[in-house]
């Protein structure tokens, strides 16, 4: 049985991603503090809440997340969860995990903010996590900020919203999606399934 931890920053809807994983036969553990004594097959940083609040909650888990990152164990960050992979955000003070160099930027005023709705994923790299997902698949977004990684090699997909922004990143077994796979119909379900396979193969 694959065991995946979902990190709880204390706000909002974790139920959707949890049930989506459970439908794939995964055992989920929703926790605000990751347990060093437990061996998770993967960790999910979900996409609810604000930066300022989440960076506080991430501090107590920083050591174990670093350990997963350095040992190349699977982590999936969704929306805010992916933004936490970077150091700084225009949304507020506090340090993210700093796995990747780059910035979290706010959309400019020439588009409506938040970016809400279904938009398409233009694939740059054919990652394992995109297996079976067609180029230009629709995904559901709801966010005001987006990542701008320094290293363009980690960009898996981009999306057009006034500018072409990074909507998915991947390096080794670290994956991030700016959209919500748990709300993105068939394409999203496939991406979650692919992540679960990555977790199962280690």
């Amino acid at each position: 049985m694959i065991k995946i931890a979902i990190l709880d920053y204390g706000v909002g809807n974790l139920f959707s991603i949890q049930t989506a994983l459970e439908k794939l036969g995964v055992t989920t553990i929703v926790t605000s503090e990751l347990d060093t004594n437990l061996e998770y097959d993967g960790i999910i940083l979900p996409g609810v809440g604000g930066w300022k609040h989440a960076v506080k909650r991430i501090q107590v888990n920083q050591r174990i997340l670093n350990d997963y990152y350095e040992n190349n164990k699977p982590i999936l960050g969704v929306c805010l969860g992916m933004q936490l992979f970077f150091e700084k955000s225009a949304e507020g003070p506090g340090d993210g995990l700093g796995f990747f160099e780059g910035e979290i930027m706010l959309f400019s005023n020439n588009v409506k903010v938040p970016h809400i709705g279904w938009n398409t994923l233009k694939q740059n790299n054919k990652d394992r996590i995109l297996d079976g997902v067609e180029d230009q698949s629709w995904a559901y977004f709801v966010h005001s900020l987006y990542p701008k990684p320094t290293d363009s090699k980690i960009i898996s997909t981009t999306t057009d919203y006034g500018i072409e922004f990074t909507s998915m990143i991947n390096k080794n077994n670290i994956f991030g999606t700016q959209f919500h796979p748990e709300k993105s119909g068939k394409a999203g379900a496939r991406i979650l399934k692919n992540f679960v396979s990555v977790c199962g193969n280690l």
């Binding site: 809807n13 989506a20 588009v111 409506k112 279904w118 938009n119 629709w138 966010h143 709300k183």
Partner: protein
């Protein structure tokens, strides 16, 4: 820009049961929010809105049960509105699995609730519903309590105010058009859409596929919501989306 326009069916729910929607002969239980929601999802709905009209003291419990059932089956986003008056009400619904909460009357009476919800859970999950009606001075006036009570508030100013307070989206209903099947109120929708920089959902008055095309063509609105045309199966969402695509509206198919 490749962001699609959204088509959103609205379902009225009382005591955990859908009130309208009994017109789908092929559904086993058209009163079940999950079954009806799944049908709309399969037809291509981009999102769902559930308006909870339960008035019993058990409201909080029945709504969270319904939200949990819907969230465990549906893989598209949904909003729940109706009687949300506190941060605890919002938390109850969001933590049960809803993506957004819709507030209306309580936002007018207690505008700081908008800020509280948006600071706590993120502005993206705070939808402010505005019911507007032309008054004798030709002003669009905000009404509360299910469009029954006039407030004297100018709808355009109120929409800008809710944006400042932290609303992530506006669900705009034309009281003049609601139930008429004469089409969306293009004038009202355009006025508001052009004055705010957050997404707006148009609602009220839809009676045909042309009405959807019209509001998307004449305004920069982001989504359109309807209830009866879908519930009474006048047309289904997949035909509507094909029609919109032929009319050069960007939709998710």
């Amino acid at each position: 820009m490749t962001l699609s326009k959204r088509i959103i069916p609205c379902l009225d729910v009382k005591e955990g049961r859908v009130v309208k929607g009994e017109h789908f002969v092929n559904l086993k239980d058209a009163g079940d929010p999950v079954e009806l929601g799944s049908k709309y999802r399969d037809d291509g709905a981009d999102e769902l809105v559930f308006l909870d009209i339960t008035a019993s003291p058990e409201k909080r419990k029945t709504v969270s049960e319904m939200v949990r059932n819907v969230a465990s089956k549906l893989d598209i986003p949904f909003t729940v509105g109706g009687g949300i008056g506190s941060i605890e009400d919002a938390r109850n619904i969001l933590c049960s699995g809803a993506d957004k909460v819709g507030i209306n009357t309580r936002a007018i009476e207690k505008p700081e609730l908008i800020t509280e919800i948006s600071e706590r859970f993120g502005r993206q999950c705070c939808v402010v519903a505005i019911d507007a009606k032309r008054n004798e001075n030709n002003m669009f006036e905000v009404f509360s309590y299910g469009a029954r009570k006039s407030t004297g508030i100018d709808a355009i100013q109120w929409s800008q105010e809710v944006e400042k307070l932290g609303a992530g989206e506006i669900l705009l209903t034309s009281i003049d058009r609601d139930g008429t099947e004469d089409g969306f109120d293009v004038e009202l929708t355009k006025e508001i859409v052009d004055k705010v920089n957050i997404p707006v959902i148009a609602s009220g008055g839809c009676g045909s596929m042309e009405h959807f095309a019209d509001v998307f063509d004449k305004t920069n609105v982001d989504a359109a919501l309807a209830a009866s045309v879908f519930h009474y199966n006048q047309f289904d969402i997949s035909s509507l989306k094909r029609f919109l695509k032929e009319n050069e509206v960007l939709v998710r198919i």
